[in-house]
Amino acid sequence: MSQHDQCPSSKKEGKPVSPARAAAEVNAASGKAYWRSLDDLADTPEFRERLEREFPAMASEISEETRRDFLKLMAASLALAGVVAMPACRRTDHKIFAYNRDPENIIPGNFLYYATAMPMPGGGAQGLLAKTVTGRPIKVEGNPLHPNNQGKSDAVAQASVLDLYDPDRSTSVRHAGAVSDWGAFAEFAAQHFKRFDATEGEGLVFLVEKTTSPSRDAVRDRVLRKWPKSRWMPYEAVDNEGGLAGVEAALGGPARVRPNLAKAKVILSLDNDFLGEPGALAEARQFAAGRRVWDREASKSRMNRLYAVESAYTITGGAADHRLKARPSEIPTIAMAIVAATMARLGGGGEVAAAAGAKGKASGEFAKWIEAVAEDLAGAKGEALVTAGRTQPAAVHAAVAALNDALGATNNTVVYLPMGVDEGASSLDSIRGLARVLERGQVDTLVVVGANPVFNAPADLDFAAKFAKAKTTIHLGVWEDETGAASTWHVNRAHYLESWGDVASGDGTISAVQPMIAPIFDGRSDIEFLSVLAGEPDASGYTIVRRTWRDRLGVTDIPAFDRAWRRALHDGVLADSASKPLAAKINSAAVASLVGKWEPAARGASGTLEVVFAPDPRTHDGRHANNGWLQELPHPISKVTWDNPVLVSPSTARKLGLPLEMGDGRARPIAVLLNGRRLETVAWISPGVADDTIVLTLGGGRRKGGRIAEGTGQNTYALRESTAMWTATGAQAPRRLFDDEKEASYHTLLACTQDHHSLDGRPILRDVDLAAWQRFGDEIAKDTDAYGNVRVLNFAERLGDETHLPANRDVYLPEQSHGYETDPETKGKGRDPDSARPPENAQQWGMAIDLTTCTGCGACVTACQAENNIPIVGKAEVWKGREMHWIRVDRYFSGDEENPELSVQPVACVHCENAPCETVCPVNATIHGTEGLNEMAYNRCIGTRYCSNNCPYKVRRFNWFDYASKQFRGGFGQLGEGIPNDLMPRNENFVPPRLRAKVSELRSMQYNPNVTVRYRGVMEKCTYCIQRINRARVETKLQDLKHIPDGFFEVACQQACPTESIVFGDITDKTSRVSALREHGRSYMLLYYLNTRPRTTHMARIRNPNPRLVAEERKRRWEQPFHHEGGHDEEGRGSEHGAPAGGHASLAPGRGDSLLSLPVLASPPADPSRRRALASVISGVLS
């Protein structure tokens, strides 16, 4: 509790209520301290200063240099205005271009959806519905019929539509760096590839990205049949070498491991971020389903428990109930120890247990943890699942497969599916083999399809130099990336939304990739391109896919095939195409021998650091680096945008001599030295990273591939060697020193959003352990507060400061409040829907966000951005706190700064019924609608920003510049362009709009026509997707329905959310899902005591810890979860708050009540009847 602490005990006579607060004070009443950053934890003066500003420093200031530029440009623009103003003073002539011939199905103004699929890197797919408007795809949504997506999608899929309209896309074929065309290439190819017919493909190498496309496999087979001596090498920079080898050894053949988390009650992740992988929607959905706590009785048997062992915090680690922080070199031995211990408990265990026991060492600090996990796993036999990540060696994967088998998981919580040749190939073997043959000069022609080895091949292969040794290199790519630029020929590739193809998802289900639009730049898809090389120049993607499918289905009857084909196109999946699980039989001897042969990596010498490489959750291996939506999406853990700094723990930072204070986003310049390679980069201190370990995120520092990609972040591939693809030891990280202070600060700016939009420690996050929930979850506490008002609190509300505060009383008379607040018991939360329906009979919208299942992945943020035309603002602008995302996902740490717990909370506009923003708008631009929405009329807004000032949730975003409509480069690529005038590079946003180029026409094709594109000086925020509500209302009216039925439409964030944590609907409809959630015991309103009455309610997070691993102190809270500490000094706690701690929970009348900011009432009269009288006077005054 901080400034708003209203407990009388802290307002004793003569004791000042200090506005300053210490970290321990940042408390939810459940007794946890939450903090967002180390500065927040330490409560540094700089942090406080930043907090107290409405916007971060420089947000509303222009630095001196740029101000001068601005004035100069302003003068120029005025001069220009004089020239052009007069002729421009006419009515704009708007044209309407009607179709020449009416296309079927297209209704201007209405959306048309087509099923398609997005191939994922390394294999697998997302089944999507592309939303098109008059032939343009503008957004993708999950395909409800697709087994992986089931209507959901992730941030990468949401952002993929932006790639289609990327103005930096490769727009033509290029030959030796010069623009060429497809005809020239086709002619060249026809001549060139003839020579291989005689040699059977000697000297011809294909380096292809991994994909699970049946048609590409068919084309591959045709290519290899034509040229049997050519080499076909599947390659991904981010691959799972250990998993492929380990599972193959354990099962005696290659297999894809597919977890079935819905059945798993105890899950152990060994450095496997299975919730954060791109396209891991089935995993997220199944995990959430096993975690959702509806009623406390059922939860006893239902809620799953997740253990995670990892070196750096990941989304999975954040969702885990227990997370063990371990160095990369320690994880395999921990894994072995767990395998041995669990098998021992399962009885016997045999050779695998013996071999694992010999390797697994449970050193002191981990022993207890390992024992507890082993016992839990063994106890959940048949409902347990262990999963290992790509950093783990083959031996661990094999041992895990054996352990899963012993746990009864095979074909239960984990299934093994057949795998294609490409998917099962080792990327490392491919790239090493390619480097070898290139070195020997055996490569005549190298064809690179989709991959970017010049950028992401291991550094020790010196691939860029070897690449030049091939006589002819041909590259197919959507962007002309590093490999494209180095190739003899670069062919522009068609985006998946503009080409025919097919792809199998993780469970084997095949989907067609359907084009939504003709290739904008006449690109070719991979199968078309390869077919041309193989001498089938006329094969279109459509015919190739149909041919593959016809062969697969074995249908000779054309009409029958057409029926199946049309059905598959419509549904987005080919019926009954899912793979049948293999009859997996674990070869214990092979596993034991693999484990026996494996040697644990030696820990690096003392004083050196261990290194772990991690794919970026947004740009993956760097392929999405030119996507502004993904670059600006804050990293789910570090919250850094537009960069990939080295992550270190606070203790390692101290050892390295790096100051802990982040200040205003200054990272620390360091150099990372590994095996004689050096990378100059910056460090960011991230609690939860293992000690003496640095995390190098892949995907930054692209040299070629678009304006956004180039120069954003650091190229960590420079340190990655083929012998240490995922972990390494022996690194050093000295500080970089600069002579010039300015240069130093320039090199260290990072745009991190973790402290942006902070609520000054006001507790808005609630989480509690399952044991407490099971004990108290259904209780509704009802009492009368000191002023005689009825106060009704559910479980989640009792966790917070509501127990401390008088009941909210509406200051409005019933007739002023649209009739939907009268009964104090319902608090407008829909417990009594009949009284809550306003006279207009309008539906009342509300949202519920479940923090138990939210993983913080960011799909909602990107979906919102795609739906609502939210612009990106660039690194410099994010640094100033001007990011425009309508949803922010707050990430909180709690507990020890070295090993904290992590919580996430998405916050968007909560649509207060008593909205503070509405009362301060001088022009009525933000007002209340009859359906309870807090509405923004952009055309009325004059940009005073009063509303944002008065918003307690900090969810309003201001258009400081014409981000959306004008070409914008603020902050792009400033690193490496020389030293700027001031801290920040020149911001081209200061160029007056008239002189700035308009946003590329291509880019604006993505905009949603149903949402206004906002202009400069306008406030905006979450609208509850009002365009979807209004459209749904029109549609229901046309169907003669009185109300929009529940589930008739979904808002964009809800639609995307992979874990279904966001639910939206009519809160006056008793049967709606959102009503049920609002009535739920875990439901609470943010900053309830302000009486803003949010329409968005959050649901407290429930953790499911293992009692064996829980400290006694935490166990005490299971008995008394409502006891709070902090905020009051010792003295206060000793007297009124001390014993019994349940004093507040019991809500004895007259305990601890006072009215906000009315000091005269700080200590209400002792006599209850007098107090009540006083209260009625006050409420009379207020109303």
């Binding site: 009515r91 002539d93 708007h94 044209k95 309407i96 271009f97 009607a98 179709y99 020449n100 011939r101 009416d102 209704i107 201007p108 103004g109 209405n110 207009e840 009979n841 309008a842 007002i927 209340h928 609608g929 009859t930 359906e931 929405l933 509405e935 923004m936 009329a937 952009y938 055309n939 009325r940 149903n1010 949402v1011 206004t1012 594109v1013 609208t1023 009002i1026 365009q1027 209004n1030 209302r1033 029109v1034 009216k1037 046309l1038 009185k1042």
Partner: protein
């Protein structure tokens, strides 16, 4: 010192004050009128690339508006028809000489205007796969206004209420202001414009006009409003988002 200023100058302050008041009044009144859509928009009548006459097609021939504006009942927009719609009628094609050679009226008198119409050249060119016809837009709500045609038609608001007697316009012009106040007038008193769609076609502009001008309209409109439970929204978010 004698009189430095002539005596008539004594009236200057009075005259000045009067002029100021008059000027202010003029500016206000002028602003009230000239700066509104009623002045800027009403009467806008651009020349269209094809001299398509609504008077002939919708008036004389009695074609329903929805023959061309096909999606008006199912979309936010009343679409401008594709050229292929024109060609549904205008392709009475002679195999040897091209379009419309046969277009001679039944009594064998003068050949149709189509025979010589240069305007149709554009239509034919477009239909044959050339440039689409560049119609000039007359009725345009700003980008921040979202107006659903379909919902209004469904509620029983005729084309007439916003577009006036299109069937009498040889060249279409902007007949109503379409400003926000104008919209709200109707949203506050929808009974003035509601017609019974079971009795009258919404596109039968002549009959609709008669009905809306008849003294019984308010009463019948109120009955219709009551029956359908219509509550036209008046909050910002109904149209602005």
């Amino acid at each position: 010192m004698s009189h430095l200023f002539p005596k008539w100058m004594n009236h200057l302050p009075t005259a000045g004050a009067l002029a100021a008041v008059g000027g202010l009044t003029f500016v206000s009144v002028a602003g009230w009128y000239y700066l509104t859509p009623d002045f800027w928009r009403v009467g806008y009548q651009p020349k269209q690339p094809v001299a398509f006459s609504h008077q002939i097609h919708a008036g004389q021939l009695g074609m329903d508006c929805r023959y061309c504006h096909t999606h008006v009942e199912e979309s936010y927009h009343a679409n401008v028809p594709a050229t292929s719609t024109c060609m549904n009628c205008h392709t009475v094609v002679n195999q040897t000489t091209g379009y419309l050679k046969k277009a001679v009226s039944a009594d064998g008198a003068s050949p149709s205007a189509h025979w010589v119409s240069k305007d149709l050249a554009l239509v034919r060119e477009s239909y044959d796969g050339g440039r689409p016809i560049e119609w000039r837009r007359i009725h345009k709500a700003p980008d921040y206004v979202h107006f659903p045609h379909s919902a209004h038609l469904k509620a029983g608001i005729s084309c007439y209420s916003c577009h006036s007697r299109i069937d009498e316009m040889p060249v279409v012009y902007h007949a109503k202001g379409l400003g926000m106040g104008w919209c709200l007038d109707c949203h506050r008193q929808p009974e003035k414009h509601l017609i019974d769609t079971s009795q009258i076609r919404v596109t039968d502009l002549r009959v609709v006009e008669q009905q809306l001008k008849s003294p019984t309209q308010i009463e019948s409109g109120k009955a219709l409003k009551e029956k359908a439970g219509l509550l036209p929204p008046q909050h910002c978010g109904a149209c602005h988002y």
